[in-house]
C-alpha cells in the first residue's frame, strides 16, 4: 500500500484519481491486516469512517473540499469524540462514552477529515513507552521487540506503519516528540496555549498540549494550522498571531544536552546532522541551559501534583468504574476501592508522589520549590533565545528500548524525559524530525520561541529536503 502524505492524497482526491470512500476502505483493510502485529489502536469505527468518507466525497464533488477532506486520521484515546469510548487506556474509564467532541476533533471534522479510530497510550498519558496501558502492548513498527515510545505510542505507531495518514497525540513532557522519534515520524508539540485542550482528558494542566504526528513536516504544519487558535472553552488557549518569519535563522546547541548519558549512536547521528546544518550555511552557536540538571525533579514535582488534582475526578461517583459491592460500607470506601481497582501502578505512583508534594509540611520544599526552579529553567531559554532563533538537540538520549527493559524501574523511565521536559516546562514549541538512519530511528528536536512554529517548520523543511 502506498504511503500517502496529506498533500499527495489531497491532489489525488481533487483530481478524482481516487474517492474518499476508496481511501477509507484501503486504510480500514490496512488496519485489519496490520494492527494485529502492532497494536496501535484501542478501538476503531468502520461505520463512522465509511459515512464520513461518503460525506467527504460529496463535499469534493461540490467543490467544497479542504486540504483535509477525505484524509484518514487517528486520535489518541484521551481526546473525546461524542458517542465513542474514551478510555485513556485505564480500567477506570474502560466503558466510558464521551458526551461531547473535543475542540481539536471538531475542527478536523469540519474540514472533512475522516476519523478511523482511537490509539493506545500509557494510562492517562503517564509514561514513555505505552507499556502502562491497561489494555495492550503497542509494538514499534520499526522493530517489533521494542517499545514505540510514549505516551502517544499508538498514534506514532499508527502513522509509522501507514495505518492512517496523520494522528493527534498529547504532549506533557515529551509524549508526542519521543514516540515520533522512536517510530521515525514527525511530531509537533505546539506552544502552550496554541491549541485548545477542551475535550482532552487533563493530566498536568500547566503542561499538556495537543499536537500532530505525521509523515512529513508539511503535514504537521497543515494539521497544526487547522487545530490552533483561541477557544472559548479553554481559558488557557490564546489567539494565535503568526510572528514574522526570520530570514537568517541562527541555530543554538545547548552544551548540557550533549553531556554524559547520551547514547553513542544517537550522538554520532546528531553530530552528522549538525555538520550538514553547517554545510547548508546556517550559523551555529553553542549555548548554555545551566539548570538542566534540575529538569527531572521540577517536571515530576509539577506534573504529579497537577495529576493528583486532575485525577481526583475519577472517584466512582459520576462516571466510569464504580466499586459498590459488599465491602464498601460508605462513600469513602467507594472512592478508595474504585481508585485502587481502577488505576494502574504508574498512575498510583504519580498520584501518591503528587499528593505527597502538595501535603502539609512538604508543599514549600517540593511543589513551591519546583515552581521557582521552573522559572529559572524558563529563563535559561529566554536568555538563549536572545542569541539564537532555533535550538536543536536529540529528542531522546537513546533510541527505542526493548519491551520490558525499563518497566520495573520508574526512575530510569522518568529520565527518558530529560531533553523534552524542559521545553514543556517553558511552554515552548518543538518538533521531532526523523533523521536518516540504517538502524533504529533517531529524532532531532527543533525548538523555537513561543508562537514561532513557523520558524520551526521552515528550518525542519530545509533539513528534510536535504536528508
Amino acid at each position: 500500500m502506498e504511503d500517502f502524505t496529506i498533500s499527495e492524497l489531497y491532489r489525488k482526491l481533487r483530481d478524482k484519481d481516487i474517492s474518499a470512500l476508496e481511501v477509507a476502505k484501503k486504510y480500514i483493510d490496512r488496519i485489519k491486516e496490520e494492527d494485529n502485529n502492532i497494536g496501535a489502536f484501542l478501538s476503531f469505527d468502520e461505520e463512522r469512517a465509511i459515512s464520513s468518507a461518503k460525506l467527504a466525497d460529496k463535499e469534493i464533488s461540490e467543490g467544497k473540499g479542504s486540504l483535509l477532506t477525505g484524509i484518514p486520521f487517528a486520535l489518541k484515546d484521551n481526546i473525546l469524540v461524542e458517542d465513542l469510548k474514551n478510555t485513556c487506556a485505564s480500567k477506570i474509564l474502560k466503558d466510558y462514552i464521551a458526551p461531547y467532541d473535543a475542540t481539536c476533533f471538531k475542527k478536523l471534522k469540519e474540514k472533512g477529515a475522516v476519523l478511523l479510530g482511537k490509539t493506545n497510550l500509557d494510562e492517562f498519558a503517564m509514561g514513555a513507552s505505552t507499556e502502562n496501558s491497561a489494555f495492550s502492548i503497542t509494538k514499534n513498527p520499526k522493530d517489533k521487540e521494542r517499545v514505540p515510545g510514549g505516551s502517544s505510542g499508538g498514534s506514532a505507531a499508527a502513522v509509522s506503519s501507514n495505518m492512517c495518514v496523520f494522528a493527534l497525540g498529547s504532549d506533557t513532557g515529551g509524549s508526542i516528540r519521543q514516540p515520533a522519534s522512536f517510530c521515525s515520524v514527525v511530531g509537533l508539540k505546539p506552544t502552550y496555549g496554541a491549541v485548545s485542550r477542551y475535550g482532552l482528558t487533563a493530566f498536568a494542566s500547566s503542561l499538556d498540549q495537543i499536537g500532530p504526528l505525521s509523515k512529513n513536516v508539511e503535514d504537521a504544519k497543515i494539521v497544526f494550522n487547522v487545530i490552533k487558535g483561541k477557544d472559548i472553552n479553554d481559558s488557557t488557549s490564546v489567539d494565535y498571531k503568526k510572528r514574522e518569519e526570520k530570514k537568517n535563522l541562527k541555530i543554538g546547541l545547548p552544551k548540557e544536552y550533549f553531556a554524559d548519558g547520551l547514547d553513542k549512536e544517537v550522538e554520532r547521528l546528531i553530530s552528522k546532522e549538525i555538520e550538514k546544518i553547517k554545510k547548508l550555511g546556517f550559523e551555529i552557536k553553542e549555548i548554555s541551559l545551566p539548570n538542566t540538571k534540575y529538569v527531572i525533579p521540577v517536571y515530576y514535582l509539577t506534573s504529579s501534583p497537577e495529576a493528583s488534582s486532575n485525577l481526583s475526578r475519577f472517584d466512582g461517583i459520576k462516571y466510569g468504574l464504580s466499586i459498590q459491592g459488599e465491602k464498601t460500607n460508605n462513600l469513602f470506601d467507594v472512592y478508595s476501592k474504585t481508585r485502587e481497582e481502577g488505576f494502574g501502578d504508574e498512575v498510583k505512583r504519580r498520584i501518591i508522589l503528587g499528593t505527597y508534594a502538595l501535603s502539609s509540611g512538604y508543599y514549600d520544599a517540593y511543589y513551591l520549590k519546583a515552581q521557582k526552579v521552573r522559572t529559572l529553567i524558563a529563563r535559561d531559554f529566554d536568555n538563549a533565545f536572545k542569541d539564537v532563533d532555533i535550538i536543536i538537540s536529540p529528542v531522546s538520549p537513546f533510541s527505542a528500548f526493548k519491551i520490558g527493559e525499563k518497566k520495573d524501574d520508574p526512575l530510569s523511565m522518568y529520565l527518558c524525559d530529560i531533553l523534552t521536559a524542559p521545553v514543556s516546562l517553558a511552554g515552548l514549541p518543538a518538533l521531532s524530525l526523523p533523521l536518516k538512519v540504517n538502524d533504529l530511528p533517531v529524532g532531532l528536536q527543533i525548538i523555537g520561541r513561543h508562537f514561532e512554529e513557523e520558524n520551526i517548520f521552515k528550518f525542519a523543511k530545509i533539513l528534510e529536503e536535504n536528508e
Partner: protein, 91 residues
C-alpha cells in the same frame, strides 16, 4: 526517604486503598525517586518568583452556558434515581 506510615497516610489522603504489598513497593520506589529529587535542595531560590506564563496574564471569562445536555451526562452515572446521582451513605 519516605516511611511506610507516610505512604499509608498519603494513600488515605489520595483515596486509594493500597494493598500492603503495594505500600512496601511504593515505599522503596518513592524513596529512590525522592533521593534523586533531593538535588533541588542545593539551589537557592529565595529571590525567585514561582513560574507563570507571561502571555496568559489576566482572567478570561465566558457566558455560563449549558454545553452538555443533562441526559448526556446522566448516561454516565454508575447509579441514579430519576434525575439524581445515587451514592453510598457518607458516614
Amino acid at each position: 526517604m519516605i516511611k511506610k506510615e507516610e505512604v499509608e497516610k498519603i494513600a488515605k489522603l489520595a483515596r486509594i486503598d493500597l494493598q500492603q504489598k503495594e505500600i512496601s513497593k511504593m515505599e522503596t520506589e518513592m524513596s529512590t525517586i525522592l533521593d534523586y529529587f533531593d538535588r533541588l535542595s542545593e539551589i537557592d531560590v529565595s529571590n525567585v518568583e514561582p513560574f507563570h506564563f507571561s502571555f496568559l496574564d489576566g482572567n478570561t471569562s465566558r457566558e455560563d452556558l449549558i454545553l452538555i445536555k443533562k441526559e448526556e451526562v446522566k448516561k454516565s452515572f454508575p447509579k441514579k434515581e430519576g434525575d439524581y446521582l445515587k451514592v453510598k451513605e457518607v458516614f
